[in-house]
């Protein structure tokens, strides 16, 4: 079903299937009628609070989902914050996004409360997501409940779920892929969404909830397969937000599970293209999107219903990527003979890791350079994880020791997975830019 607003979605399913299960979280559950009632009740309280912008320190719980829908219904601007990033960065993000109220772990919310602002005017309907790599220069992408609902429909038009399905939501709701493909996809189809109980339950959530579908990032898919955590009823896995080794997809397919691969960005409210059959890397364009390729192969996206309004308070950054309504993705692609899209690489100096997060290399390498007081270095990806290539004389243990304080400030997935020391200079272009592809090939063969 295509819905205009979150409120419409809740009204529709509460009317059509009031007793149908909407959400499960551990032993708790809410039918669609109960979910609607809980959201309306909380929205009333939020309206009375007079607050205008709610920062959600997302923990993926049922209460978190109710709060999010309620704040939207109450006309508040919502900011999706990742509770796992360092407190100092969270404080800066709260100030940047004008949050005047926080929801989440009480201890953390209390710690962050001095950063709260005076709020914002005209933020109704807006939901701000940070691009997958939350960094010092994090940009908040302004989406709306309307664009997110359209995105959920857009994806479900290619991969529909039925009301008897259970979609397992393991990914963080603060990432747009997790939000749309882990939550809204299921709710917009009237299915039951089982909310993952946190990282410590990754290995047993499938056994506990017995889902029929799940959305994962490549690293999580590897974990589920390695630990044998996949239940018999699971018939569909949607993989997104990063490059996925073909062997992983093959391992899932060998268990008789249909595997689809999705391509999308925070700026397009998630899905733009999804594979529905055959080669999982050959993706069909979703019905609301038009994809073309620039001369250099860059993927250009026209997505009138799902496109971001812009980067929050960053008009120049918005204009740099959104030109005449067309989003310049920074990804490279090609179309095959059947018109299906294949993503072939990145134009931006960015790594997309196997846990779905991104590293913006100039910033990341700059911080490493500052920590080591050494500029002849580069970061490449090996098995979807960042590895430092250090050119010069140094000991591996000493470098790791010097980098320890910096690594402690980063989310675990973005911490270096290894250090490679070479006495050779880094390969560079005539203008001094690092030849990343050449370096990648060189290190991969060692």
């Amino acid at each position: 079903m295509r819905f205009g607003r979150f409120g419409d979605l809740l009204d529709h399913w509460a009317r059509e299937t009031p007793d149908g299960l909407a959400l499960r979280y551990g032993e708790k559950q809410l039918s669609y009628a109960q979910l609607r009632e809980a959201v309306h009740k909380r929205a009333e309280a939020l309206r009375r609070s007079g607050k205008t912008c709610l920062g959600i320190l997302s923990d993926g719980s049922m209460d978190c989902v109710v709060e999010l829908f309620a704040a939207n219904l109450a006309g508040m601007q919502i900011v999706m914050l990742d509770e796992n990033v360092p407190e100092e960065l969270l404080q800066r993000l709260i100030v940047y996004t004008d949050a005047d109220m926080l929801w989440g772990d009480p201890e953390l919310a209390e710690e962050l409360s001095p950063a709260l602002t005076g709020g914002v005017e005209g933020g109704s309907g807006r939901i701000l997501f940070f691009t997958s790599g939350t960094t010092e220069q994090a940009k908040a992408v302004v989406l709306t409940d309307h664009s997110l609902c359209q995105s959920a429909w857009n994806g479900s038009a290619k991969l529909p779920l039925s009301r008897s399905d259970t979609l397992l939501c393991l990914l963080p709701l603060g990432h747009v892929f997790g939000f749309v493909c882990g939550l809204l996809w299921g709710l917009s189809c009237g299915a039951c969404v089982a909310l993952g109980r946190g990282a410590r339950h990754y290995a047993d959530d499938c056994d506990f909830y017995r889902p029929t579908a799940v959305s994962v990032v490549p690293m999580l898919l590897g974990f589920l397969l390695k630990t044998g955590a996949v239940n018999q009823e699971l018939s569909l896995i949607l993989v997104g937000a990063g490059d996925c080794p073909p062997a992983l997809l093959a391992a899932a397919a060998a268990r008789g599970i249909r595997v689809s691969f999705g391509y999308g960005l925070t700026e397009t409210s998630s899905g733009v293209a999804i594979s529905v059959s055959g080669d999982p890397f050959a993706m069909e364009i979703c019905p609301d999107d038009t994809v073309t390729l620039a001369e250099d192969g860059e993927i250009l996206i026209l997505a009138p219903t799902c496109m971001m309004q812009g980067y929050y308070k960053m008009p120049e950054a918005t204009e740099a990527v959104l030109k005449d309504g067309i989003f310049h993705s920074g990804d490279l692609g090609r179309f095959d003979a059947e018109g299906k899209l294949h993503v072939t690489g990145r134009k931006k100096e960015m790594l997309v890791l196997s846990d779905g997060t991104k590293i913006f290399l100039p910033e990341y390498e700059g911080r490493i350079m500052a920590a080591l007081q050494h500029t002849e270095l580069a970061v490449i990806a090996r098995d979807g994880r960042p590895v430092l290539v250090f050119s010069g004389e140094a000991g591996q243990e000493e470098l790791a020791r010097q980098l320890k304080p910096l690594m402690a400030q980063l989310p675990r997935g973005q911490q270096l997975a290894g250090i490679h020391i070479t006495s050779e200079p880094l390969p560079r272009t005539a203008t001094g830019k690092i030849k990343r592809w050449e370096l990648q090939q060189k290190v991969s063969t060692i």
């Binding site: 509770e83 990282a199 410590r200 290995a203 790791a400 690594m407 675990r412 911490q415 997975a417």
Partner: protein, 83 residues
């Protein structure tokens, strides 16, 4: 239970999960990500096994602060009933 005993059991759990690390010198200042190459999913596996072994619960929000084997041992020690 002493800190050294916890460290020893932590090493054992890592080797149970990742037998390919048998030759690695796992010391208390070994940085789990950078020195061992264990990814975030591997880390989840290790922490869950340690929690079950010591019957403690380290809040997920604290996991990001566990950088070295020593950090992990300290987090467990702090939560042992008789600590």
């Amino acid at each position: 239970m002493t800190r050294d005993e916890i460290l020893q059991k932590t090493r054992q759990v890592i080797l149970d999960c990742f037998p390919e690390m048998a030759d690695m010198d796992l010391r208390e200042d070994t940085v789990i990500n950078t020195d061992t190459g264990i990814d975030s999913m591997g880390f989840v596996l290790i922490i869950c096994k340690l929690e079950a072994m010591f019957d403690v619960r380290i809040p997920e929000r604290q996991w990001k602060k566990l950088s070295t084997l020593g950090d992990v041992a300290d987090a467990i020690l702090k939560r042992l009933p008789n600590a």
